[in-house]
């Protein structure tokens, strides 16, 4: 008798839960913002043209009112390695062991950024034309963005008791881009190693340069497809993995890995709630009013 009732309640639960599941799943469409990837702001870094003067680093400091230690910036210390900090959003270092090149590093501004999808409070935010910015007032300091970032970009202010911030390149979005100016680093580059424009044009330029000098360039635009594409694109005459670029990145945008799970959460919650609800209600009723024995 007991099993009979449990089975019936289970059946009832299944029907209710399937109905419940259908609704949220259809409503929870992938809400990733639609913006034109070809129209996104982009910068081309041509590693063959960089002389390692770190003018871009100083330009970044000025444009964003940052206070990195002076020795990190000056040309006399250009042989010293520097690591980005929450006050130092871009660095230029000599990379590579056999052959070396000056490599500028900053946020890649992924077209589908892992940090934006990871941040629980939207402190990291993708603006209309692609730049990923950080909004201090929302941040809780959980540092999930630092874990999620495939390029290890976000930096944390470790020596601040109550108001630490995350520091990362903002693409000069609010300081300059939205006012029609080029990013601070691009503006200060004396050799044309950095070129700013719309992503379509920049990608075209990158490929044109590679095609015009196939003997010089490696046939790969780093950032064209990595983790679904980035706004910062690199071309080089030395293979990228020899210069410390990540090589095990898939072309699949990282947020899709979590979205595959997250998008099912409302449905799963609905199914479980109705299943357990019906089960608990039925079994407790059976407790209170024991069913009659069949004759």
């Amino acid at each position: 008798m007991k099993t009979d009732l449990s089975r019936r309640s289970l059946l009832k639960g299944t029907v209710v839960s399937l109905t419940a599941a259908w609704l949220p799943r259809t409503m929870a469409q992938a809400a990733s913002k639609v913006f034109s990837k070809s129209e996104a702001f982009a910068v081309l870094v041509d590693l063959t043209r960089c002389i390692g003067c770190r003018a871009c680093v100083r330009g970044c400091q000025t444009a964003n009112d940052l206070n990195a230690p002076q020795e990190a910036l000056s040309i006399e210390h250009a042989h010293q390695r520097m690591d980005p900090t929450f006050q130092l959003w871009t660095v230029v270092n000599k990379e590579g062991t056999n052959v070396s090149r000056n490599v500028k590093r900053q946020c890649m501004h992924c077209l589908e950024p892992a940090c934006v999808s990871a941040c629980p409070v939207a402190a990291l935010h993708q603006t209309e034309h692609g730049p990923v910015i950080y909004r201090e007032s929302r941040c809780i300091g959980c540092r999930y963005c630092m874990i999620a970032c495939p390029f290890d970009v976000p930096r944390f202010e470790w020596n601040n008791g109550l108001t630490p911030v995350i520091g990362k390149c903002q693409f000069c979005a609010q300081q300059r881009l939205f006012k029609g100016l080029r990013p601070g680093c691009v503006e200060s580059c004396p050799t044309g190693a950095l070129k700013f424009g719309k992503r379509d044009d920049i990608l075209f330029e990158a490929k044109a340069r590679i095609r015009s000098r196939p003997d010089l360039y490696v046939d790969h635009v780093f950032g064209e497809n990595e983790v679904g594409g980035t706004s910062w694109l690199y071309i080089s005459d030395v293979p990228f993995d020899q210069l410390g670029f990540k090589k095990n990145l898939s072309n699949r945008p990282l947020p899709t890995y979590t979205w595959d799970v997250v998008s099912w959460i409302p449905a799963i919650a609905a199914v479980l709630a109705s299943l357990f609800g019906v089960l608990a209600a039925t079994l407790s009723r059976q407790d209170n009013h024991p069913p009659k024995e069949p004759q």
Partner: protein, 396 residues
């Protein structure tokens, strides 16, 4: 270095006391030893926290930009898993109506509540801006697993409070409140079980976004499923161990048959976990990475053999389940295995990509140990002063 010596000494004293009291043979000056070691640990931690909230996380930890999450995140993940007994037992009693487990429900719910307090308090110290911890509730970003975790933990803490409230109301003689608490029990339990399922699995989903950073032996889309299954298993084991120990400590009698049944269930769940894990690693063809140089392959074998298959096999045997000491030991292996698993996923498995630059500062460990012991003390006080164990189960 002195810090580690201090911590080791405190741990040794506490462990000695736990064992001595558990065997019913308290040492001379036992109370003095307990109070002395705990108060020393807690005052040192108070000073550490003073540094934390004035100078930042940097001075009290070895966390860096290269290793932004450390032992705290691993331990709070483990804390969530070890609190899994709360939802497993609540579901057993209130949803599946297996009422004979009711006598052990209250202590388990209390354990889960304190476990989540450990998680919440660790978070309060670990995040950079703790006064903003409520932000996910107001500033939604529903693509984030962390957003889901924030909501689930907040709601589930409330649920646990409601589930445990009748105990307090009974003590205070508030009969109407007890009546109401029983009225809402079933909906609240259903909500709690749903929330637990979601965020126990979210503990695994959290690492789905870094497939390229985690070692292939652990990097799988099944992370949420594995996190949930292991939480159920370890929840059952915590229930068994804690019930046995507290019953012994406080002189309450327990129906050991109940615990044996839970242990049997744990064994089944553990075998399920092991099977899923092996099928998963095989399906992804990740076995060759087991034999690559490095210590992660060894760690995987230790975790699977000592943490999963050995205790599963032990608990499957009736002879083991009939002897409380053997049963508790097997369960301790499971607990150790799950703690190791959570530390591995959030920390060790990423060492090949992030570099071996992080070894926890003794202050990090001191904070966690202080929180743990403080909550254990609260548990002891609650058992002493509240009707946590139902009256009919008290032997004395």
């Amino acid at each position: 270095m002195m810090g580690y010596v201090f911590l080791t000494a405190v741990c040794a004293i506490l462990l000695w006391l736990v064992v001595a009291y558990g065997r019913g043979r308290p040492p001379r000056w036992g109370l003095l030893w307990t109070a002395g070691s705990l108060l020393t640990l807690w005052s040192v931690t108070a000073y550490i926290l003073l540094i934390r909230f004035t100078k930042g996380i940097g001075p009290i930890s070895h966390l860096t930009d290269a290793n932004p999450w450390g032992v705290w995140v691993g331990l709070l993940q483990a804390g969530v898993a070890l609190s899994g007994g709360g939802f497993v037992m609540a579901a057993t009693v209130h949803i599946f109506h297996i009422k004979r487990f009711e006598p052990i429900l209250r202590p388990v719910v209390l354990l889960a509540f304190l476990g989540y307090n450990f998680v919440g308090m660790t978070l309060f110290i670990e995040v950079g801006r703790p006064y903003s911890l409520w932000h996910p509730l107001a500033q939604w970003q529903h693509h984030s697993i962390m957003f889901e975790v924030a909501w689930c933990v907040t709601l589930y803490l409330t649920v646990l409070l409601v589930e445990f409230s009748p105990v307090v109301f009974e003590r205070l003689g508030m009969t109407r409140a007890v009546h109401w608490a029983h009225k809402v029990a079933i909906p609240v339990v259903v909500l709690g079980v749903v929330l637990s399922t979601l965020h126990q699995s979210a503990m695994g989903s959290m690492f789905l976004i870094v497939p390229q950073k985690i070692h292939p032996l652990w990097s799988t889309t099944l992370l949420p499923v594995l996190a949930l299954i292991s939480a159920v298993a370890v929840g059952l084991c915590v229930t068994v161990t804690a019930s046995l120990y507290t019953a012994r400590l406080f002189g309450k009698s327990l129906d050991q048959g109940l615990l044996a049944d839970l242990a049997k269930a744990a064994s089944v769940v553990l075998f399920l976990y092991g099977t899923v894990k092996i099928v998963d690693v095989s399906a992804r063809g990740a076995w060759p990475t087991l034999f690559q140089p490095g210590w992660l392959g060894t760690l995987f074998i230790v975790e699977m053999v000592l943490g999963v298959f050995l205790p599963a096999a032990l608990l499957a045997r009736r002879a083991v389940r009939q002897r409380s000491k053997a049963m508790a030991t097997a369960c301790l292996f499971v607990i150790g295995g799950v703690v190791l698993n959570r530390l591995t996923i959030s920390w060790f498995s990423m060492v090949p990509t992030t570099g071996p630059g992080y070894i926890p500062h003794w202050m990090e460990l001191a904070v966690s140990l202080a929180l743990f012991t403080a909550l254990a003390a609260v548990f002891g006080a609650a058992v002493r002063y509240l009707p946590v164990y139902p009256a009919n189960a008290v032997k004395t």
